[in-house]
């Protein structure tokens, strides 16, 4: 007798091996960070996958001082852009005054890849409190940054986030951005 077939799970490969952001409580205790550089190797190792992205748990498990190392990596021009981008994104899992300041600066900086990551990181790390920080990016000149900001606010999902999206929809001229907003508001 053939047993009932179970549900299938995605193969842990390619696009299916994706880590979900874990929203850290804002009361995350901050300890004295290690000197920048002490954790460089393990943090870079965590950021190193091709299809796999690091999880919050993997980075947290490295120990105290990861936030500082991520901030150093995010600003290290000797590293490839995708490594810096992953570091910027990961700062959303280590919300602090310092990481927020860097993310806000990155969001309005000239690097559109890093700006997109900053948008997601702010949303992932600060939730509803990120809405006023992100709302100006809905009017960014770069289409992909606007799309990323829409998706970041969609992830927040609060009334304030939805209100910001609704307001932007009345002004948005780009069809793809508008479609992304509509999809977010329909969720």
């Amino acid at each position: 007798m053939r047993r009932a077939l179970p549900a299938l799970a995605h193969t842990a490969l390619a696009h299916t091996a994706l880590a979900l952001a874990v929203a850290l409580p804002l009361a995350l205790a901050a300890t004295s960070p290690a000197l920048a550089g002490d954790l460089r190797a393990p943090v870079l190792a965590a950021l190193a996958g091709v299809e796999d992205v690091p999880t919050a748990a993997e980075l947290q498990a490295i120990g105290a001082g990861v936030e500082g190392e991520l901030m150093e990596i995010a600003q290290d021009n000797s590293l490839v852009p995708t490594t810096r981008a992953r570091a910027v994104h990961a700062l959303g899992w280590f919300p602090s005054e310092g990481s927020q300041a860097l993310l806000r600066s990155t969001l309005t900086g000239g690097d559109t890849l890093l700006a997109r990551k900053a948008a997601y990181a702010l949303a992932n790390g600060w939730g509803d409190a990120s809405v006023p920080l992100l709302q100006p990016a809905l009017a960014a000149s770069d289409v992909q940054l606007r799309i990323a900001t829409v998706r970041a606010l969609d992830g927040v999902g609060s009334e304030a986030a939805r209100s910001a999206l609704g307001q932007r929809l009345t002004l948005e001229a780009n069809a793809e951005v508008a479609a992304t907003i509509r999809k977010a508001l329909a969720d």
Binding site: A14, A21, A41, V53, P54, T82, A119, A152
Partner: protein, 381 residues
Amino acid sequence: MTWLILLIGTLLACGDKDGDDTGATGADGLQTQSLGSFTTDTGGLTGDIPLEVPDAASSVLVHCGDYGYDVLGTAWQIKDAAGANYYTNSFHDEYAPTKMRVGNLDDYLPVLFPVSPDHDVTGGAWTFNAWIASGGTPKTIDCAVVYRTDAVSDAATVDLNVVFVGVDGLGLDAGTAPDDADFQAALDFAQGLWADAGLSIGAVNYIDFTGNVDRFAVVDVSDDDSSELGELLKEDVGGSVRGMTVFFVQEIASSSGATIIGLAAGPPGAATVTGTSKSGMVVTTADLRAAPDQVGLILAHEGAHFLGLFHTSEKTGEQHDPLSDTPECGPDSNTDGNSYLDREECAGKGSDNVMFWAPDTASTTMTGDQGWVLRRNPAVR
């Protein structure tokens, strides 16, 4: 001279079975055949689908779909011409491990065999049973098969269709790429990595994407919605059908917004089959100006996935590829007790292989078995 003509005619005839009564067409060393439409039972199984594998076949690509991005499909059972189990799913009552591996794939299911020289394919009457896990709702899917019947070369080539999607901000498009030093360096680096596998790049078709650039310049994917990736791979971009289509995009982003550096359909991809959600691969170009070798590495890594290779060892070390000559790095190598194996922990155990889960530009080795699989893919000549 007459004997020579007869000999050549015989050799050509062996690789071409045009006109057999199943409707197969033969062209250029490939035989393609529609297998028909199948409706799964409430368990998600199609039942046995017959495959008449030619004696000259060096590889078989069965492909079935579409069944939706919210549904996963895989192989349930493959029987060889002797009626023995060539592959059984781990949930099958007759499960036994073999050197065959099939993933769980959304929307469209390409299944390639062989994926190991230890488990080759022979001619004859095979059967294939697909499992489309749609939660008890029967699905009707179309299945087809590609048999590769031309000779496999030790010096094989694969054509590339390189498609530029919204990367003009890098100064990169179909017009500039042939003379772009960084892009050509990336191609050269990929070719250098594949050289150990006896594979080189053939013709390169440079193509500007004419679809929805705003949608696909950054490909957004998630565990439960890969439709954007799939819809991009379905796009008909032209170029060589017998080759690999590579979409060069600004970035691939996960559901939380993290950067994914490359994604291939499958493994394997739906080689030589256009218009499916598994008909290509995507490479992030963000590193091109800073590190073209890095982009070349990703092209080689993802291209190898498309052609049927798996990671030598997965991130946790709990799963490995089905090849005998690739090093394995297992959980016992995890010396720092975290949840993943890094390059240092896997030194000497495959971290120098192009198909390690986290390779870097020093990961330059490919093994004989890896080359064996790559060179017999239907997309390769």
